[in-house]
């Protein structure tokens, strides 16, 4: 059956009866060299991306004197959690971490609740104003967020949203929405419209067809998009700084108490590591979906 051969990506191994065709199977010297060059390139690029991460890691776990030592050692002799522990135990860090997680989850939920329907509409319907809507949400990215925070803060106080995690989550949702909408729409484009129509002919209403068919199929992609939103929220500084007073998220705390005002360097490294660590995990779990997420955006 054709499907079975399709599921077998590798060609069959040459059997004994089949004489080996030397030219076809034996890699030539030039081919091997070319392959090696490709590996060398891949490894070099990997080092370019990994070394800075490694450096921030050893800086965060070096004793304070080592941070100011010169020349610095690339292979540290001693690692210590001293700086990390001070950072970890500093007032506000743990609650800021928790706040970041809560805001991230709220942002994720809101942006899916608000953004996914729009993404679905863009994917499924050809309606008047569709293209202008797409342009509009793309251009929102062109506005520098820093400036937005000032009027937003005033509005927030009037709306009783000031210094609440909800408020930060709303602001983050607004920032994440353009991406969420475009990405979810590309995910729904990836789910064939006919599947939903089939479900409708089989007794589903629109909502049921969506829930029974489109949603389960879109779920992995939606999860990736959601976590992307989470990371966006995790990394956002300005809105979080200006819209909160006591309920700081971690990056806002880092900016207001560590980076901006020149806290000692070791703390800055510790904070940097804290900011980077979740992204390592995020990319690790989501790397399979990243491509699918962005693949259809271009269509």
């Amino acid at each position: 059956m054709s499907a079975q051969t399709k599921t077998m990506p590798r060609p069959l191994a040459p059997s004994e009866e089949m004489p080996l065709n030397a030219a076809a199977n034996k890699p030539t010297f030039a081919k091997t060299l070319g392959r090696l060059a490709l590996y060398a390139a891949a490894i070099t690029i990997s080092l370019f991306f990994l070394v800075p991460i490694y450096l921030i890691f050893i800086s965060a776990f070096s004793p304070q004197q080592a941070i100011f030592a010169y020349p610095k050692s690339i292979l540290p002799q001693t690692l210590t959690a001293e700086t990390m522990l001070f950072f970890w135990n500093a007032r506000g860090v743990q609650s800021a971490l928790l706040n970041s997680i809560i805001v991230g989850i709220l942002t994720l939920v809101f942006s899916l609740l608000v953004g996914a329907p729009a993404g679905y509409a863009l994917a499924r319907f050809f309606f008047r104003g569709r293209d202008s809507y797409k342009m509009l949400i793309l251009t929102t990215r062109a506005f520098p967020i820093v400036i937005l925070s000032i009027p937003l803060a005033v509005n927030y106080i009037q709306w009783n949203l000031y210094d609440t995690l909800w408020g930060v989550a709303f602001a983050h949702t607004a920032m994440a929405l353009p991406t969420t909408i475009l990405v979810t729409s590309s995910i729904f484009i990836g789910v064939s419209r006919e599947l939903e129509e089939a479900a409708q002919t089989l007794g589903c209403n629109r909502a049921q067809a969506f829930i029974k068919v489109a949603l389960p199929l879109a779920l992995p992609g939606l999860a990736a998009a959601a976590i992307f939103t989470f990371v966006l929220s995790w990394n956002e500084t300005f809105a979080a700084t200006i819209l909160t007073q006591r309920n700081r998220t971690l990056p806002a705390l880092v900016l207001s108490q560590i980076a901006d005002v020149g806290a000692p360097l070791p703390f800055r490294y510790a904070a940097g590591f804290f900011l980077i660590a979740p992204s390592l995990l995020y990319i690790f779990f989501m790397r399979r979906y990243l491509l699918g997420m962005w693949g259809q955006v271009v269509k």
């Binding site: 054709s2 499907a3 129509e197 409708q200 002919t201 089989l202 007794g203 629109r206 029974k212 199929l217």
Partner: protein, 368 residues
């Protein structure tokens, strides 16, 4: 009783700028196998989707089993549909795919199981029930899609080019099988295809569509033999019908058609005037080619000779017009030779060159 009646349906796309269906009316009898045939973009799929309820027409009504379903969503129309892509749910097993509609109706498990097994047996996929669609071949998926429709025991079965994604050999096989199956279940069926062989071989009747309108509804042989228009004649049949343009001229008190200087005697439609232009349509198999000149025969120059195994297909030039002619395999001919064509008078059809509409041949004037 599940007749489908379509009355004056209009459907627009692109914000009303394009009419995809123009005043379409069609009645599909109970248990009839109706084929919607036409080139891509003619609106046949749109019409099918209007019947399914996946599109809503802007004007006109649709009745299924005498009930006005125009404003009803698909799920209330008691229809089943087989999609071109099959639309087999990839996240469900074959069993759950087939059971999907029954589950939506909240049928008891035992009944679901029994009906799914029946349908699967009918489609000979009972061994794949636990598989996921990704583990199936295209042909198997197609059967799942049909089984999923049949299991619903629908009043109407709608099929949108269900065979177009199969390769040629499989398609031949599936065609016969599908025909047998549909004869067995006796459901009113609307079947969309652009493949005229499929249409001719399967349908009880064929509705030929062009530019969003139905141009002819007839039994397959009728559509083939008496195409209602130039378009239908040109669309149906391999090779398509030949068309030759000529002028009516008076000849001994009767009329003949002047074809590139060569008068042809054939049964002209009634009420023609001398000097009037006519289009003559005739199929390749109704032209007899001969190497010998004869008084009624039209001379033609051979352009291409194609041996097709069962017969030869010649492309010849009559006047300025190339036409197709079918001859026996042993006809000895080479390009650039001149042959003489005799047209089977009973098989000649006449068309108005302006409108493309076929003249009703009933009152045709016999030439002496």
């Amino acid at each position: 009783m599940s007749e489908i009646r379509i009355q004056g349906v209009w459907k627009y796309f692109s914000k009303g700028k394009v009419a995809a269906l123009k005043d379409v009316s069609l009645t599909v009898q109970d248990r009839e196998f109706m084929v919607l045939l036409g080139p891509s973009g003619c609106g046949k799929t749109t019409l099918l989707r209007c019947i399914a309820g996946l599109e809503y027409p802007e004007r006109g009504r649709i009745f299924i089993g005498g009930r006005d379903v125009t404003d009803e969503p698909p799920r209330k129309r008691k229809i089943a549909m087989v999609f071109q892509s099959y639309a087999v749910f990839p996240h469900l097993t074959v069993f759950e795919n087939i059971a999907f509609g029954l589950r939506m109706q909240k049928r008891p498990n035992a009944e679901v199981k029994q009906r799914v097994n029946n349908a699967a047996g009918m489609m000979r996929i009972e061994n794949f029930l636990e598989r996921y669609p990704a583990q199936l071949s295209g042909g198997q998926r197609q059967r799942v899609a049909v089984a999923r429709g049949l299991v619903m025991e629908p009043q109407v079965l709608l099929m949108d080019e269900p065979l177009s994604n199969l390769d040629a050999l499989l398609r031949l096989q599936a065609r016969a099988e599908l025909k047998r199956l549909l004869q067995q279940v006796q459901t009113t069926t609307v079947y969309v295809t652009h493949d005229q062989i499929e249409a001719l071989s399967m349908g009880d009747r064929i509705a030929v569509m062009e530019n969003g309108a139905i141009v002819q509804v007839d039994a397959p042989t009728q559509v083939y033999d008496y195409p209602g228009s130039l378009f239908v004649g040109g669309f149906i049949g391999t090779p398509p019908m030949n068309f030759l343009r000529g002028t009516v001229k008076s000849m001994n008190g009767a009329f003949a058609l002047n074809l590139g200087g060569q008068p042809i005697r054939a049964a002209l439609p009634a009420n023609v005037q001398a000097g009037q232009d006519l289009l003559m349509g005739i199929r390749a198999e109704n032209i007899e080619a001969s190497a010998q000149r004869s008084p009624d025969a039209v001379p033609a120059r051979v352009l291409v000779v194609e041996p097709l195994g069962s017969h030869l297909l010649l492309t010849v030039q009559v006047g300025e017009t190339p036409i197709k002619v079918q001859t026996r395999m042993d006809f000895n001919i080479a390009p650039d030779q001149t042959i003489y064509l005799r047209l089977e008078p009973k098989q000649v059809r006449w068309f108005d060159p302006e409108t493309g509409v076929r003249y009703d041949a009933s009152g045709s004037t016999e030439l002496k």
